[in-house]
């Protein structure tokens, strides 16, 4: 179970990104994405931005729930009032996900697959998943508002604060 979380500015520019794994049910809190997933994750998340733009005028909620999925990846989105997108990509078994048509990928390991059935991304539409992601997003939103309240922060500036990064990591540990 691995997560990729990124904050996208109003001009579809990335402001912050972090990878982490689950800390629940024996997870070690470290993302286990394969090498090719590093850029595929960014690609999948940016592809999902089109869907965000489609539904952002018909859905008033800030948490737009699961908006897209590609193979084993599920993308959840939280849209702030200022049109900044929090995108969370979750993958229950990243080592088994094939991104290309070539048969270079190792077969799915049954042990991890069985373990991940109790995890959130195994049922990306379930109530429990949505509640956990909502709680996570709301906590990040709180820190985000504190971050932009900094008088020296200008819109669409990249967030480099290690304190912000720690807070996001803590929220991830708590909910995901």
């Amino acid at each position: 179970m691995s997560y990729y979380f990124t904050i996208i500015g109003t001009r579809d520019n990335p402001l912050f990104e972090v990878e982490f794994g689950t800390s629940k049910v024996g997870g070690d809190g470290i993302a286990h994405f394969r090498d090719e997933a590093k850029h595929m994750n960014q690609f999948i998340v940016h592809a999902a931005l089109d869907i965000v733009e489609e539904i952002q005028w018909t859905n008033k909620d800030m948490y737009l729930k699961r908006i897209d999925s590609y193979q084993n990846n599920h993308v959840h989105c939280f849209l702030t009032g200022g049109n900044v997108k929090f995108m969370l990509l979750m993958n229950p078994d990243p080592m088994a996900t094939t991104y290309s048509a070539y048969s270079t990928s190792p077969p799915s390991r049954p042990s991890t697959a069985r373990q991940s059935t109790t995890l959130l991304a195994a049922s990306p539409n379930s109530q429990a998943t949505e509640e956990a992601v909502r709680a996570f997003m709301l906590e990040v939103y709180e820190h985000w508002v504190k971050c932009i309240m900094n008088p020296f922060y200008q819109v669409n500036q990249v967030v480099t604060s290690p304190v912000f990064q720690n807070r996001v990591g803590t929220a991830a540990k708590k909910y995901l």
Partner: protein
């Protein structure tokens, strides 16, 4: 004869593999290696950062004299730098703009879990008229009107803007309304929520005996915003 000498020199250089420092002959200059990232964040003695501060506001926390002093300094600064009334208003507007962008998310956060983004023009106007005004001045604005002649123009009326409480305008600049600062905040809120404007401006509401300081904020939305709004309406959303 200098020319053949130069040619020989170039030929010799071409035969040798180029050394990293030898970039005078070529027209490309190698970029310096990127500096390693060094965090320049400094902590105060208490080790508390902005992330440790609470976002919910104690009721009526800012003192009006303190604000009036700051606002006065702001106007004096921009007055000294501008040549015309419209330039002062433009500068005050730009000073308020980033505040608007930030206020939007702060106010939505304070509404708690039930907060919704303003997605329709009327929602946004009511947000500015009610929530924003209460957040800034502790009361709602006095009126919200739509222009009768142009469909993209809306007006928000404040009978007695708090920001103008201690501002007196000299005779030769009677057109100046320092609530242009508030207009900038409104513009920031509109822009951030995806309703681009052609500009928000503050005008004196003339001829009102009861409220001599009456100010009208004119919001001119972009054509595409109005078109999108009608598109959503037509789709039944």
């Amino acid at each position: 004869m200098p020319a053949p000498t130069t040619a020989t020199a170039t030929a010799t250089t071409n035969n040798n593999p180029p050394t990293p420092l030898d970039f005078k002959e070529s027209d490309t200059i190698p970029l310096p290696p990127p500096k390693p990232f060094q965090p320049s964040l400094r902590h105060p003695a208490s080790r508390k950062s902005i992330y440790d501060r609470a976002l919910s506001r104690p009721p009526s926390s800012t003192s009006l004299p303190a604000f009036a002093h700051l606002f006065n300094t702001l106007i004096t600064y921009h007055h000294a730098k501008s040549a015309s009334v419209s330039e002062i208003e433009g500068r005050l507007n730009r000073a308020g703009y980033p505040i608007g962008i930030k206020m939007l998310d702060l106010l939505l956060y304070r509404q708690g879990g039930k907060a919704v983004r303003p997605t329709r023009l009327l929602d946004l106007l009511q947000f500015v008229h009610g929530v924003l005004w209460r957040g800034l001045f502790g009361r709602a604005a006095d009126a919200l009107e739509q222009s009768t002649s142009k469909r993209e123009e809306y007006m928000i009326v404040d009978n007695e803007p708090v920001v103008n409480t201690y501002i007196s305008i000299p005779k030769e600049m009677s057109q100046l309304n320092c609530a242009a600062f508030v207009a900038g905040i409104i513009e920031g809120v509109c822009d951030a929520s995806g309703f681009g404007t052609e500009g928000v401006s503050a005008h004196w509401g003339e001829g009102d005996e009861m409220w001599p300081g009456k100010t009208i904020f004119l919001l001119r939305f972009q054509e595409k915003v109005v078109e999108r709004e009608e598109g959503i309406k037509a789709a039944g959303g």
